[in-house]
């Protein structure tokens, strides 16, 4: 009997291993990526900073009652 291929399960396992690699990547390796003029490291960092600033700002507004808990940028709904 052949086992059914479940690519999403394979990908989930591989992604879990890769996420550990990303978290454990040595600082000098990442600094080298950021310093590489060909690599858009600065733009990526700016984009992440923008997301963080937006989320923290939105969270502040939400706790002040300006935006509700399911405000405009809550694209995900809990099951």
């Amino acid at each position: 009997m052949t086992k059914q291929w479940r690519p999403h399960v394979d990908l989930a396992r591989l992604s879990a291993a890769l996420s550990e690699d990303i978290i454990a990547a040595p600082e000098p390796e990442l600094r080298a990526m950021l310093a590489d003029p060909v690599f858009p490291g600065g733009a990526i960092v700016r984009q992440v900073r923008d997301v963080i600033a937006h989320a923290i700002g939105e969270s502040d507004e939400s706790s002040a009652g300006v935006i509700g808990p399911a405000g405009p940028s809550r694209l995900f709904v809990a099951l």
Partner: protein, 198 residues
């Protein structure tokens, strides 16, 4: 949120508040921001409904800040945020599956179908395409392909080495090579879009 402090032998464990998490997230260095982008792209690739990595990262931070996903003591921030993003993406896949079944009128046993891990054709297709993209990226690296196959099967490092008659040193250098190539590729070539498949 109330802060709890408990003595545990020599150390003191402190349950972090949302404000602690906000401060820690805002203070992440550039290298960790790069890691965060790579993690967000890793978990969000192929997500349905046009959602991209910035949506997933935004939602993860909001859930931490609104207290629905409190940051547990002793868990490194990036590992925690990675887990939150993974969970958000898994939930979203299940929700999309549920809605697709409802749209097609297959509502007889909706909870059982979505809940029992039954294959989701759209998710399986996205995953197959993502795996194919990874394999293509390492097509000229036989050791990397073996490591990818082993990790996909859920094997440990020792099991991969045994199965493929690979030395520990070869395994370690292959994982490093994979990490460098995947991070660069994912962050660079998926710029402005999801990596792999949409």
């Amino acid at each position: 949120m109330e802060r709890l402090e408990r003595n545990r032998g020599l150390g003191i464990a402190v349950d972090r508040t949302a404000a602690d998490a906000a401060r820690a997230i805002a203070a992440l260095p550039q290298t960790d921001l790069l890691r965060l982008a790579a993690l967000a792209r890793l978990w969000s690739r192929g997500l349905p409904d046009g959602l991209v990595w910035t949506d997933v990262l935004n939602e993860a931070i909001l859930r931490v800040l609104d207290g629905s996903r409190p940051w547990p003591p002793g868990v490194p921030l990036l590992a925690f945020l990675s887990g939150v993003m993974r969970s958000i993406c898994d939930d979203h896949w299940r929700r999309a599956r549920r809605e697709a079944l409802r749209r097609h009128g297959d509502v007889a046993d909706l909870d059982a179908t979505v809940g029992d891990g039954a294959p989701d054709p759209e998710r399986m297709l996205a995953a197959a395409q993502a795996l194919a993209a990874i394999i293509e990226l390492f097509a000229d690296d036989a050791l990397a392909l073996q490591v990818i196959a082993g990790l996909s099967e859920g094997l440990t490092a020792a099991e991969i080495c045994r199965q493929y008659t690979m030395g520990e040193r070869d395994y370690d250098t292959t994982r490093k090579r994979m990490r460098r190539k995947l991070m660069r590729h994912r962050l660079q070539f998926s710029w402005g879009a999801n990596w792999g498949v949409r």
